[in-house]
């Protein structure tokens, strides 16, 4: 089955900084792919690069194949049709992403008008249906409400409703729950999963929270300092991590059984983007580092179907984890 979206060797340069380098991954129809990494790992940039939402000054290279067509080479009018049409995005902070002076209803119907040609009563009815779909009570009346009149979780639902207006096949979710309370987080994640099922939609979920990944994602791509370290199914990544960084991440998540023990953090800090070391980017902090790790960047190689790693000492890591 050909992938819905195929990102190949995506690189994003902003001035002297290479924010994303050589990133490749696939998204299958109907699956939830997690892009996980710390702040500054390039995950948000990768997401925005897909829809070409980066500032003019950014240099983007690589291919992004959507149903066979390269998004990087798509002319403006078709790109516009795609945005909000087949591929939609939700941002992290709904309070800033929604226009404060327009009603939520209008922000939905303008999408309906642009992509589906729906106007007037038909558009408003559909908009109310969408608000209902995302779980906002009293949908019809809420069409006339402004963003600041919603609570945080409801605002995020509204943003999702706006994104879904034209029935996208792929939803890009940029840390959709980071700005919310934990209980609301859970609701939103469940909502996303429900929508994925009901609408046969794929989702790329960007997050820094491994817990969210474990609960919602089918497959994961682990990013560090702008590069992909490991990709694979969720169970494999968590059960048998094949990259030193992935192992470190998983170990650093506190478990209830770890009570009264030191938190196992990964020592050190991610590299300064202006002074990236040669060789594997994780090498300075890696417990499995060897001399060959320092000379060149390890390429992403396949271990088994669907599981790939950029770690030269994957075997050692997998043995440690087992």
């Amino acid at each position: 089955m050909t992938a819905l979206l195929s990102v190949r060797n995506l690189s994003v340069r902003l001035g002297p900084v290479m924010a994303v380098q050589d990133v490749s991954f696939d998204v299958e129809p109907g699956e939830v792919l997690g892009l996980v990494g710390e702040s500054g790992s390039g995950k948000s940039m990768t997401l925005r690069a897909i829809l070409r939402l980066l500032p003019q000054a950014a240099d983007v290279e690589g291919a992004m194949l959507w149903r066979g067509r390269d998004l990087a080479a798509l002319p403006e009018p078709e790109l516009r049709q795609l945005r909000g049409g087949e591929i939609a995005i939700v941002f992290q902070e709904p309070m800033t992403a929604l226009d404060p002076v327009l009603t939520v209803g209008l922000q939905i119907t303008e999408s309906l008008a642009e992509h589906l040609g729906l106007r007037g009563r038909a558009a408003r009815t559909r908009a109310a249906e969408l608000l209902d779909l995302v779980g906002i009570p009293d949908a019809r009346r809420r069409l006339g409400s402004y963003p600041h009149e919603f609570s945080g979780g409801m605002r995020q639902r509204a943003m999702i409703a706006i994104a879904l207006a034209a029935g996208p096949k792929l939803l890009l979710a940029d840390e959709p729950t980071t700005a919310l309370d934990v209980t609301i987080q859970d609701q939103i994640l469940k909502l996303l999963l429900r929508l994925r099922a009901e609408l046969s939609m794929s989702v790329i979920l960007v997050t820094h929270d491994l817990g969210i990944v474990a609960e919602t994602c089918d497959r994961v791509a682990v990013l560090y300092s702008g590069r992909v370290m490991e990709t694979g199914p969720v169970e494999t990544i968590f059960g048998q991590p094949a990259h030193a960084y992935t192992l470190g991440l998983i170990n650093s998540v506190p478990q209830a059984s770890d009570a009264r023990q030191r938190l196992a953090a990964i020592p050190g800090m991610p590299p300064d983007p202006l002074a990236i070391p040669p060789g594997c980017r994780f090498a300075p902090r890696c417990g499995f580092v060897g001399p060959d790790c320092l000379t060149r960047q390890p390429p992403l190689r396949a271990l088994a179907t669907g599981h790939a790693t950029a770690c030269l000492h994957a075997d050692a890591v997998m043995r440690k984890a087992a």
Partner: protein, 292 residues
């Protein structure tokens, strides 16, 4: 297969070494330098008008009345045969004086008052804010005119009138800065250590809060020159025969059709001064902002 060793710093684009960036940021910008040059030229004209001006400002020449610009008189002559260029140059000292006297007292008094009000808070602060509301509602010009109306026209009265109003803006600026700084930890630390209010204000709050005031002061000088020349034009500021740019322009208003140069050239001096102070003020703001 031999493996190429990656370069030591494989940044995607090593456009500027970091040391050079730091040096570039510490240098003053072109705007600031241009502004400084303009102001220096004006100061030179103010301090050495004899050297700068080809003629005496009040030298009548009945043979050369209302002459258009020429080599002998680059700005032409007025209805008394006086050289407009010289009069413009001689007027510089008055207008710069206006810039200084109209801002110096307000700046000093206003800054201290603002610091005290900001630090004290409470009812003093509320009263101050009401006063500010009042002074925003009545246009600056109208207020100054009203006070000059009571005191009588003239430069000194104009300074008094302008100072009486202008201090508020400095006070408002300083008060805002002090209130922002008050919340920072080091002032609490000072209080805990038992420092008196005065010491906290003068030694700690003021030095940190003063930069915006200095920048405001420079742009304010341009505003005061505009105000002063407006009053001069109306006949409420500098009085003839003192040459002040506004007065010079007023001299020419009855000769619009016959001798346009009488009004146009002195006006350019005002514009030059305004641009100079603005460039300087903006430039300093950018320069200080970049060095932080």
């Amino acid at each position: 297969m031999s493996e190429a060793v990656a370069p030591a710093i494989p940044r995607a684009d090593a456009r500027e070494p970091i040391a050079a960036t730091a040096q570039r940021r510490a240098r003053p910008g072109r705007g600031m330098i241009a502004g400084a040059i303009i102001i220096l030229v004006l100061i030179a004209c103010a301090v050495f008008p004899d050297a700068a001006a080809p003629y005496q400002p009040n030298a009548f020449d009945y043979r050369a009345l209302l002459k258009p610009p020429s080599l002998a008189h680059p700005f032409g002559t007025d209805n008394f045969g006086r050289d407009v260029l010289s009069r413009t140059i001689w007027a510089t000292q008055i207008d710069l004086q206006i810039a200084i006297f109209g801002t110096l007292f307000p700046a000093i008094f206003g800054t201290f008052a603002g610091a005290l009000i900001g630090y004290a808070g409470g009812i003093v602060d509320t009263l101050f804010r009401r006063l500010v509301d009042l002074f925003i509602t009545i246009p600056f010009l109208v207020l100054v005119i009203a006070i000059v109306a009571v005191l009588g026209p003239g430069l000194l009265n104009m300074y008094i009138a302008v100072s009486a109003i202008n201090w508020i803006f400095y006070a408002r600026l300083m008060r805002a800065e002090v209130i922002a700084q008050k919340r920072r930890d080091y002032s609490d630390a000072g209080r805990v250590m038992g420092y008196g209010a005065a010491r906290i204000i003068f030694r700690h709050l003021l030095p940190n809060a003063i930069t915006p005031s200095i920048i405001y002061w420079m742009t304010d000088m341009a505003l005061v020159i505009l105000l002063g020349s407006s009053l001069g034009y109306l006949g409420l500021g500098a009085q003839p025969p003192t040459s002040e740019w506004g007065v010079l322009i007023a001299d020419g208003k009855n000769f619009m059709t016959t001798a346009w140069w009488m009004s146009i050239f002195p006006g350019m001096a005002i514009v030059l001064a305004g641009i100079g102070f603005s460039l300087l003020g903006d430039g300093v703001a950018i320069w200080l902002g970049r060095r932080k």
